[in-house]
Symmetry: C2
Subunit: 349 residues, 2 copies
């Protein structure tokens, strides 16, 4: 069933020209006569020729494989799926193809995946690193001249371009909003201690409290896994302190959903009895009940930004690392208690 591979030489022979001419046609060169071009193209179609990019790359000094590698740490999180879609969008229209891999937070797998991508000669890499990735892991990549864009999670000391959202400002805005609603004991829940994102969001939270001249209480800052389960856990611990909080800024939406679950299981209704704010604005945030007040970061937009930056870097061969911070905005819905009028009345038609 599997035929012999048909090569540029086969089609040259069939079309009665030289392989050089065929190559020229393949590259859409204007040097070749229209008539021969058409004939060659006809033969190409007829024989079902498929271009061997590997062979071509071999010859071209500035290897343009046309592949962009994308590495994400958790594809099951819709945030990253959306990010990938954003990247794919830009990358495809620029004529590249995307090579997406999921590390599932496994750093060994990440190493493996990146090695594999390099072997295949990717022209650039966009990465949302797995937990525990260090600057040293990226060093060999950039050293070899591979354009790299770091996104979502920053890595201390990495000398690469980054596209990050403004975590500090977002978290600060979320906290301010809760303050404005009258809350005074506001918790910060969820997130792993050792990640840069967590640090930044926590800093934003503290900024807002400080600005309101409220002494931040350490017992109201509770870290946990950045997942729904982590949220349940965090709110559980938060409610046991001497003076429990009346609202919480959460590390991300998953945690916020978990916090809502936890509140309900103790007989409290989020948005009515307790203010909850998330971060990310995943798709479900809008449609959950109560709809989640959250900081919107537009994952697709972030992906597109990252892709654009990478392409720019590829095309210019620019060695200068650029840092883009994408702005975020607070989307007020029901879980914080602000838009409450829209929610409880829904029962009767």
């Amino acid at each position: 069933m599997s035929k012999e591979r048909v090569t540029v030489i086969d089609i040259a022979r069939a079309a009665g020209v030289s392989k050089s001419t065929v190559s020229l046609v393949l590259q859409g060169s204007h040097l070749v006569n229209a008539a021969t071009r058409d004939k060659v193209n006809a033969v190409i179609r007829e024989l079902g020729y498929v271009y061997n990019r590997g062979a071509a790359n071999l010859r071209q000094s500035r290897a343009k494989s046309g592949i962009i590698g994308v590495v994400v740490n958790d594809l099951t999180n819709s945030f990253f799926a959306e990010l990938a879609v954003g990247v794919d969008d830009v990358v495809q229209s620029a004529g590249y193809v995307q090579f997406l891999s999921n590390t599932g937070e496994n750093i060994d797998r990440q190493r493996q995946v990146i090695a594999s991508m390099r072997e295949h000669g990717i022209s650039g890499l966009i990465i949302s690193p797995a937990r525990g990735t260090e600057a040293a892991d990226l060093k060999p990549l950039t050293a070899s001249g591979l354009p790299v864009v770091l996104t979502v999670r920053n890595i201390a000391g990495a000398k690469v371009s980054t596209v990050m959202s403004d975590n500090r400002a977002g978290s600060s805005a979320a906290t301010e909003h809760l303050l404005k609603l009258g809350h005074r004991r506001i918790a910060y829940l969820g997130g792993f201690d050792d990640t840069a994102v967590h640090e930044e969001r926590l800093a934003g939270y503290r900024d807002a409290l400080q600005a309101a001249e409220i002494e931040p209480s350490e017992e109201l800052v509770i870290s946990s896994a950045p997942s729904r389960a982590g949220g349940v856990d965090a709110i559980g611990r938060a409610m046991t302190v001497a003076a429990p909080p009346t609202a919480a800024v959460c590390f991300n939406d998953a945690v916020a959903f978990g916090v809502c679950d936890g509140l309900r299981s103790r007989g409290m209704e989020p948005g009515r009895d307790f203010g909850v704010v998330g971060f990310d604005d995943v798709i479900e945030a809008k449609t959950a009940v109560p709809a989640l007040t959250t900081v919107s970061v537009d994952p697709q937009g972030t992906g597109r930004r990252a892709a654009q930056l990478l392409l720019k870097q590829i095309n210019s061969g620019s060695p200068a690392a650029e840092a883009i911070i994408t702005s975020v905005r607070l989307v007020v819905r029901q879980s914080c208690g602000a838009g409450s009028s829209a929610y409880p009345e829904r029962k009767a038609s």
Copy 2:
């Protein structure tokens, strides 16, 4: 910054051996003396050599690029993200790397993406085709001997291996369940008319009605986009007929969520005033309020199955197309009204 590429010859020179020996080392051949192997490996690490798979593939007749192409029609739908994770899982542990692309239901983009993948010499392809894909589109692929596995959506007349879920049985079970709860006017909502999946699920719905000796009413079968918005639209139309339904079997979970939205906006609570059943069991189904009764198809499992089948095909060079139908099961939660006792009482602690 970008250094000269270091090749097998460079490392041969540095290690004082021939390129052939280096090649042997690279392939982990036992023919090479342990001492030289170690020396070569040391030099490899030292010079930061990266293997050029393109060049290698050029030489190897049975081109083992080690890339598996995965094409999905909508990555923003978490079903497909999960599917990709399942594929990646199997594929990575088999030493392959995944090349994931999203077509966004755009058939031109799909053509483009597949062409690109072929140029890069993928060893196999797993595809959930975009709407409108025809058997003729897959013909050239299989004709060239490329192993292909079709999943999620079938294509009439395509002579390739498939991994599909048992749509008919699932839909039938969902319908039966609603009948058992006492519903007699059950609608079938959502899905595009011209897709095989829609046909199958609709057939299952009719099977169940027939078995219960209920004459299916055509006005209760309403197709729409297979999205949340489509669901809102479909339920809107369904409620305007002379004798409106009291429950609905939905094309997929997204539609089901839309139906819930639509019901609420007309003052009806899904699970209490109207039975809703979805299909797919996406992650949000479990945690939505009310939790969605749905047909579970295990997207990751499907992905793993598809990947296994593809690998089997690659390794055996087997020309025989195989059709796997994965079984599904109804997961009863609250939206159908069956498990209702758990839901409304939640208010008080």
